[in-house]
Symmetry: C2
Subunit: 150 residues, 2 copies
DNA sequence: CTAGTTGATTAGCACTGCTAACGAATTATA
DNA sequence: TATAATTCGTTAGCAGTGCTAATCAACTAG
């Protein structure tokens, strides 16, 4: 592989990583207002969009280990944002479901976060926005590929 | 502002946020190998690229409160990745500097990240990589603007 | 029926963010 | 000059999120 492509990758890696860190740090300021941490919010969104599922599935979806998800679910539960039921087929399993309150909170938090991030980009031209969109989709797509192959 | 531009922003914000979360989760797996957390690595890179600076400056650059940066610097120090000296002009201030070991570790972490990104984006054309680079720079620039204005 | 596997939890560690409260040093002001 | 206000950094303590190791219960294979 040519040296120039290699160093381009180095720069891209650096910049993307840094941009991601800073973007999330910025966005998190409002998540705090929701009194729900990012991991819980993210898990909740999986539940809302993906429907009820077992803890292990949720952990896999979030790329997190079972004990971590166990605690996240406990937190959601104690906040009344999710509930758990026994699985009919397998008594080891639990079925985690978002409550109505959870769905409501998710929509609010999401709207707040999106408004915040959208504010940041208020000065950008439409073509720049489209560039960002393509970049985000590229990253997501490439990550899905990489996660699948691994 | 036209409705269409507004909703484009919302979509971009949503996608970017999601892509950032997933990219960092993926990248963190390797950071763990470096035995240095993401916040320390990020602060270290500011030091390496920006030169020695006061704790407050570093906190501002990382968009983090002083106590948080105080602990991050303490961690870097105890790992021998950074050192602190007294400021000649103002005895309240400290001067934080990356050590040679810190610079070395950062380069290694970067190299690891580059390999990771290379894996993820192995299928991308050079122009797509350039698109990602522009996107990352746009995000950083917009964030700096937003942080400055606020 | 025993042995192995799987799903979830608990315990305990590390890291990262915050606010509140403090001490020390500097700057502004009476 | 003496005092007050401000600024810089630290400490203490809370919450959240990630991990591994160990454990328990339930299911599955032999």
């Amino acid at each position: 592989m040519p040296r120039s492509r290699d160093s381009l990758r180095l720069v891209v890696a650096d910049r993307l990583h840094s941009a991601a860190i800073h973007l999330l740090r910025y966005a998190r300021k409002r998540d705090v207002l929701a009194r729900v941490g990012p991991a819980r919010l993210s898990a909740l969104s999986i539940l809302v969009f993906g429907g009820p599922m077992a803890l292990g599935q949720l952990a896999a979806a979030e790329q997190v280990k079972a004990p971590t998800m166990s605690r996240i679910v406990a937190g959601l539960r104690s906040s009344g944002l999710a509930r758990i039921e026994a699985d009919a087929k397998d008594a080891r399993r639990i079925r985690v479901t978002a409550t109505a309150k959870g769905e409501r909170l998710l929509q609010e938090a999401r709207a707040r976060r999106v408004r915040l991030v959208a504010e940041i980009f208020s000065g950008l031209r439409e073509e720049e926005m489209n560039g960002l969109l393509r970049a985000a989709e590229l990253v997501e797509h490439a990550l899905r590929q990489a996660a699948g192959t691994k």
